[in-house]
């Protein structure tokens, strides 16, 4: 069930840490803001017809398990995106496309709003972009186009260099002072 839930899911990209006790959790951000939340219960119904069990045996359950896993996956993903919306709206980290299709400018604008980290060799640790399957189909060809466009690359590099500078500034602030 767990495996099925994580298959081709955004949840597979997100680290899941089990909590063994407690009834709530909270995260304190660098700006002192505290995000408090309670645990949510996810549930799905597993129903299998008696006739199917008679005919197919255990195999009858497999389809049911898949359906239940899909349901749980959908509930979890929904919760994650609701939380993301809540946090980004709160911090003002929202770029509104106003119904227009995703353009390169919009992507760069989005990149500009987020904090980007780099590895010790100065390479950017690029974030994962989540889009709907329909959006992805539309974007696939455009991504190749953007990657081969020198002007797009120039703009991208400019932002990355700016982000690298911000990262250097942040890293140099990580110190003990009097």
């Amino acid at each position: 069930m767990k495996e099925q839930m994580h298959r081709s899911s955004i949840m597979a990209e997100i680290k899941t840490i089990p909590h063994f006790e407690g009834d709530r959790m909270s995260t304190k951000y660098d700006d002192g803001d505290i995000d408090k939340s309670n645990y949510n219960l996810f549930s799905a119904e597993l129903s299998v017809k008696r006739d199917d069990i008679i005919k197919l045996g255990f195999k009858a359950f497999i389809e049911g398990i898949k359906k239940a896993a899909e349901e749980l996956k959908s509930q979890q993903s929904k919760m994650v995106f609701e939380k993301l919306n809540e946090v980004t709206t709160k911090t003002g980290n929202v770029v509104n496309a106003k119904g227009k299709p995703i353009s390169y400018d919009l992507l760069l604008k989005t990149l500009e709003t987020i904090q980007l980290d780099f590895d010790d060799n100065g390479n950017p640790l690029m974030p994962t972009m989540v889009v709907s399957p329909e959006q992805y189909e539309k974007m696939k060809e455009k991504i190749v186009e953007w990657e081969n466009d020198p002007e797009c690359n120039k703009q991208f590099e400019k932002i990355i260099n700016q982000k690298r500078k911000e990262w250097h500034d942040r890293e140099s602030n990580r110190k003990l002072v009097d």
């Binding site: 063994f20 407690g22 709530r24 995260t27 110190k175 002072v177």
Partner: protein
């Protein structure tokens, strides 16, 4: 069923294992325990000394099995000491008379009974100032044990299941602390009780039933499992008493018995280790390497814990050079298997400081921090990260060797730690600014996790539903002065737990997930060398 289990255990066990519950039976009968031997032959032939409810002093000699003439002749010198020598104890006047009891979990043959009668009569007739010798045999013992156990027995099917899981364990493995805590908390330490005498009685029962449960581990002389079990019981009693708001004097006797059993077992483990050429155990096919190194980690923590415990009860205690030597020799061979290993090293750090090895203590603390940063750094993918303290050594080993149904995904521990904050606080209290300065950048990339408990008694709980799982990054630009002030104020913030200071170095070995800023602050020495 439990009565049969008591009988079955009582007939087969030895005096070393029924000593603790016997003391509880005496307490149930209104005795105050003055002395309880720590499983060594005692001078004066007295294993237990008490004052009964009428103020009469009583001395007990405990034996195993039937007493026939051969056994009687063997033990007679000890019995003579029991009845002839006065009680020698700092709190007892030597001129005060005492009652003597020979206690054994078997029967007495008629020949021995006649001899005891004759000895008593002869002493009276000749007006010898010796104590009268009474006997407590299996029949009386069993009756007393069942009476003291009282109504505090598992009643629900689920509780019986927990009892059987524990009672039928093979005794070779680690002790199942979670199941034991669930059993004691649910089936014995009844939260619905209101009356003080019932509450006291159920605490007494918890000690007695623990002795039966531990039968498989007693038979295998699995000292570490026994140590863990008694610590869980002691913690459960403290938790229950705090939740019931009862006075310390009403439960101290029971918690002290549990603690002394834990300490005795840990001492026996250490004594055994001193005579061992190596520390291989059981099936050699599954031993060695990480398994062996983790055993050494437990042992150095145990040696340090015993030395610290001895110091806590005796200001003039002289540290055992053999223990120090053992720790020094094995410290290079140990394995920091995960964050749950920290309390074992914490004991060594505190012991080194008590001896005056301050540089070694600081180096060890720094080594742990460096290991943590190297293992759990988000960017580093070379090492297996240290699992958080909720994962014990056996779970980590089983997972690394692929024996678990669902292996631990160690990658989830990248970028976070539960022990980072207490380590930083310890270093700040020790004025280790330059060391922290060099490492501050990688430190700020690790998420600090901690579990904030709502109710003080839940510190002693294996798990609690009430509390907040918090996380935050350390301050990127951190004031040293502030860091140091905060670290020292943690000691004053821990005042509520100071009553349990002497328990905590043992407790955290068994409950490593409770090793946080607050509990570690309790353990810090009064004067910290900088």
């Amino acid at each position: 069923m439990i009565e049969r289990a008591i009988e079955n255990w009582l007939i087969r066990t030895n005096e070393r294992n029924y000593l603790a519950p016997f003391c509880q039976v005496l307490m149930y009968k209104g005795h105050r325990i003055i002395y309880k031997s720590s499983h060594r032959p005692m001078e004066q032939g007295k294993d237990v000394i008490t004052i009964d409810k009428n103020g009469q002093y009583c001395a007990y000699q405990l034996k195993t099995g039937n007493i026939d003439l051969t056994k009687w002749r063997e033990i007679r010198p000890e019995i003579e000491e029991l009845i002839q020598l006065p009680i020698i104890h700092p709190s007892i006047d030597k001129n005060i008379e005492h009652k003597s009891f020979l206690v054994f979990n078997g029967n007495l043959t008629d020949e021995v009974r006649i001899q005891i009668d004759q000895i008593n009569e002869d002493n009276i007739r000749k007006k010898r100032d010796y104590s009268y010798l009474d006997v407590i045999d299996i029949e009386s013992l069993l009756k007393d044990f069942i009476e003291a156990q009282g109504k505090f027995m598992p009643k629900e099917v689920e509780d019986f299941d927990l009892f059987l899981q524990l009672h039928l364990a093979d005794g070779n493995d680690f002790f199942n602390k979670e199941t034991f805590f669930a059993f004691i908390s649910k089936a014995i330490l009844d939260t619905s009780l209101k009356g003080k005498s019932d509450i006291k009685h159920c605490i007494i029962s918890s000690v007695i039933i623990t002795s039966y449960i531990l039968k498989p581990f007693q038979e295998k002389e699995n000292h570490y499992a026994l140590f863990e079990a008694w610590i869980v019981l002691c913690a459960s009693i403290i938790r229950y008493a705090l939740s019931k708001n009862i006075n310390i004097k009403d439960y101290e006797g029971s918690s002290q018995i549990a603690l002394s059993e834990a300490v005795s077992n840990l001492k026996e483990l250490c004594e055994e280790a001193l005579f061992r050429e190596d520390f291989l155990e059981g099936d050699l096919m599954g031993d060695g390497d990480l398994m062996y190194k983790s055993r050494l980690t437990i042992l150095i923590g145990a040696f340090a814990a015993i030395e610290l415990h001895n110091l806590s009860i005796n200001d003039d205690y002289v540290f055992n050079p053999k223990s120090i030597d053992f720790i020094d020799r094995q410290l290079t061979e140990v394995w920091f298997w995960g964050e749950s290993a920290f309390p074992f090293f914490l004991n060594v750090i505190h012991l080194y400081e008590q001896i005056g090895y301050h540089k070694k203590a600081k180096k060890l603390l720094l080594d742990i921090l460096v290991t943590l940063l190297r293992s759990n750094s988000r960017i580093n993918s070379q090492n297996i990260p240290l699992a958080n303290p909720y994962y014990g050594v056996h779970e980590i080993l089983e997972s690394l060797f692929g024996f678990q149904e669902e292996n631990i995904d160690f990658t989830i521990f990248f970028g976070s730690s539960y022990i980072l904050e207490p380590i930083i606080a310890m270093m700040a209290r020790r004025n280790m600014r330059s060391e922290l300065e060099k490492l501050w950048r990688p430190i700020t990339h690790i998420h600090i996790n901690k579990f904030l408990i709502d109710k003080i008694e839940d510190v002693f709980s294996w798990r609690t539903k009430s509390g907040d799982n918090t996380s935050q990054f350390p301050q990127q630009t951190q004031s040293w002065t502030q860091l140091k002030n905060d670290a020292f104020s943690e000691i004053s913030n821990s005042s509520e737990l100071m009553d349990y200071k002497n328990f905590f170095n043992l407790f955290l070995m068994v409950y490593p997930h409770r090793a946080d800023c607050q509990t570690i602050a309790v353990l810090e020495p009064e004067k910290i060398s900088t």
